[in-house]
């Protein structure tokens, strides 16, 4: 009986149970390209910000002979940044650093262009204000770290090399010596990763010495010093991170 009543209610109100139903859709992507016109009002709002930024950011730090790219497991852009960070970290801590590494996602541009590399470009590569931490880490923890990096498809590194097999790290060498599980190593790492960022949790409870310099400072200063020495940026890929079957 109750069911019949419900049915009656249904028919009585069916003209009113109408709603708008999305029956069809069209999809398009509007790609904004170099020929896209720009809106004057928006440009006018941007202009004072841009002028002030350009004055500060268009300073040339160094010249690059080639375009560098970000990639996994190894990339010339990752190698460049880790190289600069390792060298500057040694200057900051006045100590010997065994290796430094970086998360791939922490490099925020797909390319570093050929030609003049400006201060603005350094900001785009590394926009975060992450400080450099110096840490003493034992070989066992580093074994976890290398496996973690391997599982991520390979993270950029300087001072060490490793191979990736079935998402695990093998043939790990630090300063050309095989990883010793019983040894302590000195590493330089961004405080973001040291605190467990990007799920890199194995370092988070270990003691750290915080440098009052951030990764971007290290990159900027390192590039300026290259320029003073008359060096240009070149592409370096040396097989330090490889995937093997």
């Amino acid at each position: 009986m109750k069911n019949i009543f419900l049915l009656l209610v249904f028919f009585a109100t069916s003209s009113c149970t109408k709603h708008f139903v999305a029956t069809e859709y069209k999809y398009s992507e509007e790609r904004l390209n170099p020929n896209s016109p720009s809106d004057e009002k928006i440009s006018a709002i941007i202009a004072p910000y841009k002028d002030s930024l350009d004055k500060e950011m268009n300073i040339v730090l160094v010249v690059s002979d080639t375009i560098l790219s970000k990639a996994t497991p190894e990339s010339d852009l990752g190698n460049l940044i880790c190289g600069l960070v390792l060298k500057k970290s040694e200057d900051y801590c006045k100590c010997k650093i065994d290796f430094t590494f970086l998360n791939t996602g922490g490099i925020r541009l797909p390319n570093l262009p050929k030609g003049n590399v400006t201060l603005g470009k350094a900001y785009e590569l590394m926009p975060f204000d992450n400080l450099i931490d110096i840490m003493q880490v034992n070989g066992k923890t580093l074994d976890t770290l290398f496996n973690f990096m391997a599982n991520k498809g390979g993270w950029p590194i300087q001072g060490a090399r490793y191979k990736i097999k079935n998402k695990k790290a093998i043939d790990v060498f630090i300063q050309n010596e095989p990883l010793d599980l019983n040894k302590e190593y000195t590493i330089a790492v961004s405080d973001y990763l040291a605190m467990g960022g990007d799920n890199c949790t194995m370092l988070s409870y270990l003691p750290k010495t915080v440098m009052k310099k951030n990764l971007r400072d290290a990159i900027i200063e390192g590039m300026k010093e290259m320029n003073v020495r008359g060096e240009h940026i070149k592409s370096v890929i040396d097989g330090r991170v490889q995937v093997t079957e």
């Binding site: 149970t17 709603h19 708008f20 069209k26 999809y27 170099p34 720009s38 910000y49 262009p113 900001y123």
Partner: protein, 306 residues
């Protein structure tokens, strides 16, 4: 939701409707509607187009360029909804130097209707975000972060409903687990709750209690992962009552929206437009007045990809 339960709910909604809107039916205009949904994600402070320096994305993007496109679309279309899916900030010196002020000003000028929060929108800290909020004329939507006792409390809405010619569009947002992604001192006190459970709760509210005809989830949890980590794909399969998931975080370029069957067997669309404002995503939805009790698993149908 099971189909039987769905029909019962629709009947209840129908009974309510009988009391309130019957007289209006007689004066109803045309039974078809069109709504244009435009979206961006992960703009990352890319105010100007990428410079012409040989880089992968050279010459692409730009806020002033997007504004022209928006003017054109709004000239042609009456019902336009413009949404962003978070990570507005961080990536160029515009953010480092001006703290996100310009991004919010420009999005307000472009008449964004709503955005959600990405992890990088915490990069200036909670206070940094609150400081820039007065520059945003659009609301930030999130229903799975708990901001109680933080400076953001009361400043973030869970959802917003937009009505175009009697078509109700409910929009809400969900965010990614911040722990391990955002330094603790930048998001201290913000508690993360299950995005899928909260999305379903919100979608149910919008569809049945608010009577929305279309429910859109702005999701910054990411499209999909190799590792076990909750994603838009998980959300799509486990969801009820969400019609469209606009994604972000993973910077994924789609060629067209992905279509999934949700927990009820109904269709749910997922889309994302890469990052840096290179593309403006556009979905034109065509609505017809129909009996809602009839669940059509093939709706909406993709009729064209331009």
């Amino acid at each position: 939701m099971k189909r039987k339960q769905f029909i019962q709910k629709s009947l209840t909604a129908g009974a309510l409707c009988a009391a309130s809107s019957f007289p209006y039916e007689a004066f109803a205009k045309s039974d078809t509607r069109k709504i244009t949904i435009l979206h961006t994600n992960d703009q990352h402070s890319r105010i100007e187009p990428f410079p012409m320096d040989g880089g992968k994305f050279q010459g692409l993007g730009g806020f002033a360029q997007r504004a022209v496109l928006l003017h054109e679309i709004r000239r042609q279309e009456k019902n336009v909804l413009l949404l962003d899916v978070g990570d507005i900030w961080q990536g160029t010196p515009y953010f480092n130097k001006f703290g996100g002020e310009l991004e919010f000003k420009l999005m307000s000028e472009m008449k964004y209707d709503a955005s959600t929060l990405g992890n990088h929108d915490f990069d200036a800290g909670i206070d940094g975000f609150v400081k820039q909020l007065p520059h945003a004329s659009f609301p930030f939507l999130n229903c799975n972060y708990d901001f109680t006792n933080t400076a953001m409390e009361g400043k973030i809405q869970t959802h917003k409903i937009f009505t175009y010619d009697d078509v109700k569009v409910g929009v809400f947002g969900i965010g990614i687990e911040l722990q391990g992604l955002v330094p603790k001192d930048l998001c201290n006190g913000v508690r993360f709750n299950d995005p899928i459970a909260n999305a379903n709760k919100m979608a149910k509210h919008l569809k049945y209690e608010q009577g929305c005809d279309l429910v859109i989830c702005l999701s910054h949890i990411g499209y999909k992962y190799d590792e076990k980590k909750v994603s838009d794909v998980d959300l799509a399969y486990q969801s009820s009552n969400i019609d469209l998931i606009l994604g972000g975080h993973t910077h994924t370029f789609f060629t067209k929206p992905d279509e999934f069957r949700n927990a009820d067997g109904a269709k749910v669309l997922v889309n994302q437009v890469g990052w840096a404002g290179i593309y403006l995503g556009r979905l034109d939805f065509y609505f017809e007045k129909k009996k809602k009790a009839i669940l059509v698993p093939d709706f909406p149908k993709l009729i064209a990809k331009v």
